[in-house]
């Protein structure tokens, strides 16, 4: 039989926040493809997304693109001192103003995208992969492996992510690999928990029971029967991890404990230019706006994906 957990896991605001809304399928008319006319790819894409979802997708794609080509299209080199005016306003030469040393803010943000988006992407991938692996392991192998893993990850989730990050940085200092590790570490438990519960549900389904009765090994069941059916929800979860990690890392950088100078992610850009706040300088507002658009865009995208996949399942 499938072993059920004896204790409910320690609840956690971060993971429960988005599992919450189970109602939309009822509230919204399900998307059923009634028209027999073949739609072209663009129309199908538009049909799958609501306006807000599409907006989210575009924003996320935009920032991903910027992370890859940003430094190539930046008007000035990253650290170049180009203007004598500090905390300059919006102008033709410096579209987003200049920072506390007179550097072009647009270029700083374009260069910073690599850190903010890139680091978060790497950390979220690590967290999701490792979390899924252990979640699957716990669900498939049952009893005491499950129990030990669950206890361990529950302990890890009981350290608030920012606090955990602070502890690790206090012990090991702040470097790019360390930041990636700590961000991943903070969000592995969430990914573990979701993948474990998904896998446990799948383990109870008939076709898995059939595979067991056929005498298939656990590895085969995990790889062929369970994992492919977890991919879709885990991808949505990956988006969430990404948002949380962006917030965590930029928060750390804002405290001066994240990406260290001369490199700068968007959080450090806000910190560097906080002196310009009293003048309302774009240098302090723009990087913050960049972070907010990235995370809000991702959230809108995920929200859209969740609703559509849910109503699709019901239809």
């Amino acid at each position: 039989m499938i072993s059920r957990p004896t204790h409910p896991p320690v609840p956690h605001a971060g993971t429960e926040l988005y599992d919450a809304s189970r109602d939309e399928a009822v509230a919204e008319a399900p998307v059923v493809d009634t028209s027999p006319v073949r739609l072209n790819a663009l129309q199908r894409l538009v049909q799958r997304f609501s306006v807000l979802g599409l907006l989210g997708l575009l924003i996320v794609l935009f920032w991903l693109l910027v992370a890859f080509v940003g430094p190539l299209v930046a008007p000035y080199k990253g650290g170049a001192l180009t203007s004598t005016e500090i905390f300059g306003r919006y102008s033709a030469a410096y579209p987003l103003g200049t920072d506390y040393l007179g550097r072009d803010m647009l270029s700083r943000i374009l260069y910073g995208a690599r850190y903010t988006v890139g680091l978060a992407l790497a950390a979220a991938m690590l967290a999701s992969t490792i979390g899924t692996f252990f979640g699957l392991l716990a669900a498939v192998s049952g009893r005491w492996v499950d129990e030990v893993l669950s206890r361990l990850f529950d302990a890890l989730i009981s350290i608030p992510s920012k606090v955990l990050a602070l502890v690790v940085i206090a012990a090991f200092g702040s470097s790019i690999p360390m930041l990636t590790t700590v961000a991943a570490l903070a969000y592995i438990p969430g990914a573990f928990r979701i993948s474990r519960s998904l896998a446990l549900n799948l383990m109870g389904l008939e076709y898995v029971q059939v595979a067991r009765a056929r005498g298939e090994g656990l590895l085969y069941i995990a790889r062929v029967e369970v994992l492919p059916n977890m991919i879709h929800p885990m991808l949505a979860d990956f988006g969430l991890r990404f948002v949380f990690i962006v917030l965590l890392l930029s928060g750390l950088s804002f405290l001066g404990l994240g990406v260290q100078p001369p490199n700068a992610d968007w959080g450090s850009l806000v910190r560097e230019n906080i002196g310009g706040l009293s003048e309302g300088a774009p240098a302090v507002l723009m990087p913050a706006v960049a972070i907010a658009t990235l995370t809000i865009g991702m959230n809108l995208l995920i929200d859209n994906l969740r609703r559509r996949s849910r109503s699709h399942g019901d239809a």
């Binding site: 429960e16 109602d23 009981s158 606090v163 090991f172 405290l255």
Partner: protein, 317 residues
Amino acid sequence: MKAHAQRLIAARLGLALLTLLLVSAIVFGVTGLLPGDAAQQALGQAATPEAVAALRHQFGLDQPALQRYGEWLFHIVTGNFGTSMSNNLPVSELIATRLPNSLVLAGLTAVVSVPIALLIGITSAMFRGSLLDRVLNVLTLSTVAVPEFLVATIAVLIFAVKLRWLPALSYLSEVNSFGALLRIYAMPVMTLCCVIVAQMARMTRAAVLDQLNSSYVEMAILKGASPVRVVLRHVLPNTVGPIANAVALSLSYLFGGVVIVESIFNYPGLASLMVDAVTNRDMPLVQGCVMVFCAAYLALVLIADLCQIVSNPRLRR
């Protein structure tokens, strides 16, 4: 049945303590064991081996790891967190002076945010699918995704810089009247509320909707009860448990939020103490702060759990 509920509560309590023990092992492992030789670091590369050995003995670093962990744990349980490395004051004293400030901040945030969040959550659940619900959904979804420092920066820009209503930094020593108290706490509390309200409202909405989908609600609607009556009379009493759970869980988010907010407003709380400790690499202080944070977090989660159990009439009888 009452015995059953008590057993359940005892089990949760035991589980929380076990988790706290594991947390302490993780914290000690990360801060005490992994970083390597504290004595060597303290003395630098040029130190003689004898000096390093002497300091190692003084720090107790020549003991086996498990024994060091045991001693450390014993000290913490008895309230002795060691001495801060940067100013030689006892860590417990430092924490004791800062903790009340943080609790006041958290308490005020809770008092402000809970009613607003419940109002938003219940309203959007009552009118689900409506324009209002959708607008609130997008609003809360966006607020959750906005970093605290953006909210704080914008608040400072508007209220301290442009309007000059509020001070940009929190100096608690200047509190001498209720008005001054309000002025100082307004912005930190507002910032914390922003993020927490969104989270709490979403969870509340989900809890209410969960009940709205059940068959007794359908029955009430078929009977001809008005939507408001269905929600207030039939649904709300049944959602007290889940909502209390949601509130406690969202409040646990405060522990992350205060780290940023206290630093921005220079608020003399526990979180800013910890950030300073991390910057100075003051390990005993870091360990002490983390353990207090985690214990408080677990206590809140435990309360959330207990709310769920106590409010369930099937377990109460």
